[in-house]
């Protein structure tokens, strides 16, 4: 098990390195000049040269990548003398547009993204799995058909549409909620929850539909298994048969997609954050893209990718704990 863990960690580190290189290469090959981007529109040629030196753009691509990696593990300093900017560990780059290290920008945006992702995840997991289980147990019933139609609807509605309808209903028409803005959880929990309700519902609508359909399919399959019949033959109460013998195996694939979805969302819910104007990582990415702030785009990409890769690792570890057959192999 320990060996398995170490091996997986090594593989994960390698994958992150590859992602890092690939992302870096893409940005390097992009026609836009980072120096131009950092300097703004009205910019003298001298200033551009100066920035190029500061950013190390006149070095070879490989040495630039080396500098970048060094920055991640031990921090780095851009330029020399009075113009030198310090970018402490872990340096994911420096935004010359905002004069901040990218890492700092990211971490300041994390609480909002975490709040949105985790809250929405709890909501869609509860609603989706519950609806899927009931649908499978009442397969073919009116409830089943209604729930599956609703699920299809939830999956197909675009986020910005749901978001706007919700805002119109809850804020404008019914005056139930304030317009979303992030209140810190620690000082104002009620305000925090209020500000999060709409993003949560918006995202949960999208995912709950998928989870309901997957859960229903998995439950139908596991309910037909012979070991479920054995459980009934033992005289177990039906609720135990369903929960212990049908739901448990059905949840295994859910663990996988849940890990992936949550991992992806922790790296920023771009559309949701933008629509509700919440200062999360996704909003940061959207802003960086529109202002062509390359170091930030690069940083966010890496950051989000790491979440997905780490979620992947976590899913595999959870799998090894949950499934005795996988455990044996690991």
């Amino acid at each position: 098990m320990i060996l398995y863990l170490l091996r997986r960690l090594a593989v994960t580190a390698a994958i992150l390195l590859v992602i890092c290189a690939a992302t870096f290469a893409i940005f390097y090959l992009m026609p836009a000049d980072p120096a131009q981007g950092a300097c703004g529109k009205a910019c003298s040629p001298e200033r551009i040269t100066e920035i190029r030196t500061t950013l190390g753009l006149n070095h070879s691509p490989l040495s630039q990548f080396g500098d970048y990696l060094t920055g991640i593990v031990s921090g780095r300093t851009y330029g020399t003398g009075e113009h030198a900017v310090n970018c402490p560990f872990p340096c994911l780059g420096f935004s010359f547009q905002t004069n901040q290290p990218v890492w700092q920008m990211l971490t300041s945006r994390l609480p909002a993204s975490f709040s949105i992702a985790v809250g929405a995840a709890v909501l869609w997991l509860a609603v989706g799995v519950a609806a899927g289980v009931v649908s499978a147990l009442r397969c073919g019933s009116l409830w089943d058909r209604a729930a599956m139609t609703a699920a299809l609807g939830g999956v197909s509605l675009p986020i910005y549409f749901t978001a706007l309808v919700l805002q119109y209903l809850l804020v404008v028409q019914l005056d139930l909620l304030p317009y979303p803005q992030v209140e810190p959880l620690t000082t104002d929990p009620v305000g925090w929850a209020q500000s999060m309700v709409m993003p949560w519902i918006t995202l949960a609508m999208l995912y709950a539909g998928i989870y309901a359909r997957v859960t229903r399919g998995e439950m139908l399959e596991s309910l037909g298994q012979n070991y479920v019949r054995t459980a009934r033959a033992k005289g177990l109460p039906e609720i135990t048969v369903v929960r212990r013998h049908a739901l448990r195996p059905a949840l295994m694939p859910i663990v996988t997609i849940f890990g992936m979805d949550l991992g992806a969302l922790l790296g920023g819910a771009l559309i949701t954050e933008s629509v509700f104007g919440l200062p999360g990582v996704g909003k940061l990415a959207a802003d960086a893209i529109s202002s062509a702030d390359q170091p930030v785009i690069l940083g966010v990409t890496l950051f989000a990718a790491s979440f997905v890769v780490l979620a992947n690792l976590l899913v595999d570890l959870v799998y090894a704990v949950l499934d005795p057959r996988v455990r044996a192999v690991g």
Binding site: N226, Y227, A233, P237, H245
Partner: protein, 270 residues
């Protein structure tokens, strides 16, 4: 004393297949009834119908167990009967054991469904049962998962699960199929002991005439969902009335007889 009476049992699946069609069975307390027949003759479906475990199927007829009409029981009453008074050993033990739980858990779970017992106590019962069915090192093996067991050991786990509640009736569906001869003999011995020591009635489903000869008192020969012949094992084996039964018997290679060039097949006879 009659323990199980089945009258005019018919099972029709929603797909239109009539798997059982007017079957009568009688089984006395402490006796062993062999149910034989070719593959697809409706043996497993009959046993599932007795326990009320069929889905997507229309079941009609009478199933009386110890004076109670099973088809008329509510879910609660049926649940209390399952496992506790009528236990079942299923065909294909790998797919019938849940891969996510240890074998001891799955045995203990059956015990706890009908007894007020803590986890520890039920676990001890499970270990004792594993020991009784001949699993070596039962304490250590108890924590293993079904995939870590061999086919014969899984079959024993199924048997341990069925026996831990000391049922009045055990339905054993092909308990020895796909096992090698020595394991087969051990499992038959186990069933024989069970019947002699605990007085458990057994409905022994198999298409192996040899198994029936070694264990059963009465035998019912099934063909296409009906009983085509029935009677004491000796009579049916020595003086089969039906050509179908003769065919089934002829399919068993006899150790003491001359070896035929080719084994006869049922199609050639029926």
């Amino acid at each position: 004393m009659t323990l199980l009476t089945v009258r005019d049992l018919a099972v029709e699946f929603r797909s239109g297949v009539r798997a059982v069609d007017g079957l009568d069975l009688d089984l006395d307390t402490g006796r062993v009834l062999g149910v034989v027949g070719e593959s697809g003759s409706g043996k497993s479906v009959t046993s599932l119908a007795v326990l009320g475990l069929l889905r997507d199927a229309q079941v009609s007829g009478e199933i009386r167990f110890d004076g109670q009409e099973l088809t008329a029981l509510d879910r609660r009453a049926l649940r209390r009967l399952r496992g506790n008074r009528i236990a079942m050993i299923f065909q294909d033990p790998l797919s019938c054991l849940n891969p996510y739980y240890s074998v001891a858990f799955q045995i203990a779970e059956a015990y706890r469904a009908h007894h007020r017992a803590g986890r520890k106590q039920a676990h001890r019962v499970a270990v004792r049962m594993l020991d009784r069915v001949g699993i070596p090192e039962p304490e250590r093996r108890a924590r293993c998962y079904p995939h870590e067991f061999s086919g014969g050991m899984r079959q024993r786990v199924m048997i341990a699960m069925a026996l831990c509640l000391e049922p009045d009736l055990l339905i054993a569906d092909e308990p020895t199929t796909a096992l090698d001869v020595t394991v087969q003999a051990q499992i038959l011995q186990l069933l024989r002991e069970l019947r002699e020591e605990a007085g458990t009635a057994i409905m022994l489903i198999t298409h192996d005439m040899g198994v029936v000869a070694g264990l059963a008192d009465q035998v019912v020969v099934m063909h296409q969902g009906r009983a085509v012949e029935r009677g004491p094992v000796r009579d049916v084996f020595h003086r089969p009335q039906e050509p179908y039964t003769r065919g089934l018997l002829a399919c068993v290679p006899r150790i003491d007889g001359p070896l035929p060039d080719r084994l006869p097949t049922l199609g050639a006879i029926t």
